[in-house]
Symmetry: C2
Subunit: 351 residues, 2 copies
Amino acid sequence: MNALSQLLGTELPLIQAPMAGVQGSAMAIAVSNAGGLGSLPGAMLTLAALREELARIKAGTRHPYNVNFFAHHVPTPDGVRDAAWRATLAPYHQAFGLDVNAAPAGPGRAPFSAEAAEVLSEFEPPVVSFHFGLPDATLLARVRRWGAKVLSSATTVEEAIWLEAQGVDVVIAQGLEAGGHRGHFLSHDLTRQLGTFALLPQIVRAVKLPVIAAGGIVDAASVAAAMSLGAAGVQAGTAYLLCPESLASPVHRAALKSEAARHTALTNLFTGRPARGIVNRVMRELGPISSMAPEFPLATAAMAPLRAHAERLGSGDFSPLWSGQNASACQELPAAEITRLLAAGLQAQPS
Amino acid sequence: MNALSQLLGTELPLIQAPMAGVQGSAMAIAVSNAGGLGSLPGAMLTLAALREELARIKAGTRHPYNVNFFAHHVPTPDGVRDAAWRATLAPYHQAFGLDVNAAPAGPGRAPFSAEAAEVLSEFEPPVVSFHFGLPDATLLARVRRWGAKVLSSATTVEEAIWLEAQGVDVVIAQGLEAGGHRGHFLSHDLTRQLGTFALLPQIVRAVKLPVIAAGGIVDAASVAAAMSLGAAGVQAGTAYLLCPESLASPVHRAALKSEAARHTALTNLFTGRPARGIVNRVMRELGPISSMAPEFPLATAAMAPLRAHAERLGSGDFSPLWSGQNASACQELPAAEITRLLAAGLQAQPS
């Protein structure tokens, strides 16, 4: 047990990365019961679903767990931009016999809110983590009220320093290798994003807080490497995607197990914000980063019917196949077993 | 001494990265005498200068050393593209009172050639390394004749497998954090480039050869991290840039020591190929990657007079300020001392 696991109240300084849309309470419970910190991603849950999932976790484990939320600003819908995006995707809709204008508007992902905080307060989760910065001070104080530890992701040294100044308890250094959404919030310039080898030690040097390494953490060796770069602990996501507890779709699992997983890219096509996924047809054809994609999370609406249609045909051509840059170490093992395999690297000490 | 240092004939499995334009024989000698493998970058040397530098190394150390060359194909000059590039840079030339058309044509960087091999054969360097793939089989056989070990950089798993099939002795896994030119040669799609945390272990698993880690290797902790990811050794470049043996210009040194070094980007503005440097005025104003830049190395000619003019005024606005993503660990110490500091991380073992 090190300082970080004492802070989190866990046996291991190891967090299962919250992965909205591909896992829920079952994985969180399995990891928390295995000594890590299981995470429930709240971003895509209705308040009712959030309450249900939290109730399952409460029933499933007595160990600490984490609930994660996005902390973005809800964008003002932009009719012109939305129309341009629908026009970009219209040929695909036509080819599938779908009506692009029938696609629902609406975000699909809500930022942390007073209502969500109200639901959380019924359960008082011991850890709450955020992505894309932090919610406003009032909301943050709400979460602090029951003593929750607060974590957030930094993708640059500047973001880590900012988060420390806001009083977070732990900074997650999200290296460029990581799968899913980049957590940047101070600058949208992607050239500022750093690989784990460069980001982690610079953040460790820049802040006094414990720093968790994320991005490329897939096995004991990478955990050991992160610890020798000064991490207080690690966060792993992709490594858990093939677990039986994962909700990753069959096309997502197949992609992770294939040669295709060697080539990931940051793409804004699925939500409007850059996120790392396995390169598929729509990313190849439109380019992974498109200036046509509306602001996060408004790009989702017009893409969702294409995804649903293609997945019914067994195709991941329009699916966000989130993955880090090293899916080769993924194994089809229970989440508890993955946790133990990762934990074997934790004994490494900073040089 | 491990298998790699036995192969290289060095005390340490540690290579000083060849850095064309910013170091020469003095640094190579210092590192080789300190137990590492010093490198002489040959890409920007005339044959006469190459011979002189090799003579200095021969006189300066009895230890093994490396000579490095680029292995690109010389592009056919494209008048239309060159004119477009000159037009892009013309406003800067005008502002400096320079004539953009007076800028010499010509590449500035030559690939490895029969003539260079002839010069090498006079000295029989024990190690020859290549960037951008490998020269043709005849040239490679030439180098093999005196028993030189051959190294080359891989930026993807596919490139590592290709290099192994060509019979190289060691693969250098060049993670995206690395400064200077990316070594990719099978695909020019930059989304295929991987961070060290993801690239290194995947290459280690894919090939039987010893793998050297490059990209983010700046101190003992990062060396230890690379070794625990399965590296047989490490290559460090940026860490040596502030040494007295470095030929980095005053503006380059000042940038490396400043906050500006926190923000690097891949840019093709200076040579036509993506290389990582500290973001400066011309990178900000034209964008770090420009479709106007002619093919490598033809972009250099029209940029060079701007660089020379600006540097005379003490400005790095038009200079390639090559740097990896972690210049914060650079120290103004002799190259031998940097070598010893890095070597302290070598005792780490793969997990």
